[in-house]
């Protein structure tokens, strides 16, 4: 049953994070709201990927796929934004 317990813990923590992100939006954190929301979203994604999608135990190949997607997203965002805002405008 430890597997089910693990999934249940993941589920509950996802709901708690949801409550946290919605709750935090009612307070003005002086520009950090968006950052906090994104950090919580990343945390949720990590929980789903490692526990629900078994990334933690899936071996090298799936991790390779995730790492590649992450790297390429970084390229897409980084260089596009350099082109859009490189002049500081």
């Amino acid at each position: 049953m430890s597997e089910i317990r693990k999934l249940a813990v993941a589920y509950v923590s996802l709901l708690l994070l949801l409550a946290l992100t919605v709750g935090s939006s009612f307070f003005d954190l002086g520009g950090f709201n968006s950052g906090l929301n994104l950090a919580i979203a990343v945390a949720k994604a990590v929980i789903i990927a490692t526990l629900f999608m078994h990334l933690a135990t899936a071996g090298t190949l799936p991790r390779l796929a995730v790492a590649a997607a992450g790297l390429w997203l970084a390229i897409l965002f980084g260089l596009t934004l350099a082109g859009q805002w490189g002049n500081g405008s």
Binding site: E3, I4, L7, A8, A10, Y11, L14, L15, L18, T21, V22, S25, F26, D28, N33, S34, N37, L38, I40, A41, K44, A45, I48, A49, L51, F52, M53, H54, A58, G59, L61, P62, A65, V66, A68, A69, W72, L73, L76, F77, T80, L81, Q84
Partner: protein, 212 residues
């Protein structure tokens, strides 16, 4: 050997299952690029028109959005259970959790549809020539926000609908499938379902929680 491989290429079901999972992960990575590109468009616009976007975001229903997030997280949980039960060969429980997953998916789409209807009613759906009435300071860019909102949520909804269809198909073919096929399919569909959930996990704060 009772367990079969579906592709002639593999010697054992175990190797095929691992290959299936890897293939699904590669697909998920590919899909991440699709949503990433749309997110990039949103991000650029969000930085350019921050106040207009914040004002427009307040017109979305936070209650329904939060509810929907909870619904989708729950569906991911039931899907993870289905994966666990099918690996443990507890077929009845697996079928039950899969059905629950599909129903939660349908519930999500129903709530989303309600939101869309409310937004059309309120006149903040600047698509298909619907009238746009917005009394904030910068209606042009508020309209841009709603355009992006509809694009992103519809793209996500489309993916979820595909997921529901695939889960339904999985259940329809359940009887005829042997044990290894069932495990393989539940695993593959599960990976896709969780990914669609992850997309929503990002869409929700990005769209609903702008400086609220």
């Amino acid at each position: 050997m009772s367990a079969s491989t579906r592709s002639v290429a593999f010697d054992t079901p175990a190797r095929e299952k691992a290959a299936d999972a890897f293939g699904m992960w590669v697909f998920v990575g590919s899909e991440a690029m699709l949503f990433g590109a749309v997110m990039l468009v949103f991000f650029v616009a969000r930085v350019s028109y921050g106040p207009a976007f914040a004002a427009a975001s307040k017109h979305l229903s936070l209650t329904l959005g939060t509810l929907n997030t909870a619904v989708l997280i729950t569906s991911s949980f039931t899907m993870a259970l289905a994966h666990f039960y099918s690996d443990a060969r507890r077929w009845r429980a697996a079928v039950g959790t899969l059905a629950a997953t599909a129903l939660l998916g349908i519930a999500f789409l129903a709530i989303k549809g309600t939101e869309y209807a409310m937004e059309f009613h309120e006149g903040i759906a600047p698509v298909l020539g619907a009238p746009f009435t917005f009394d904030g300071p910068d209606p042009v860019h508020a309209a841009f926000f709603f355009g992006l909102y509809f694009t992103m949520t519809a793209l996500h909804g489309l993916h979820l609908a595909c997921g529901i269809i695939v889960v339904a198909g999985l259940l329809a073919l359940w009887r005829g499938a042997d044990a290894s096929s069932r495990k393989r399919r539940v695993q593959a569909v599960g990976l896709y379902w969780h990914f669609v959930d992850v997309v929503w996990v990002f869409l929700f704060p990005v769209l609903y929680l702008i400086n609220r």
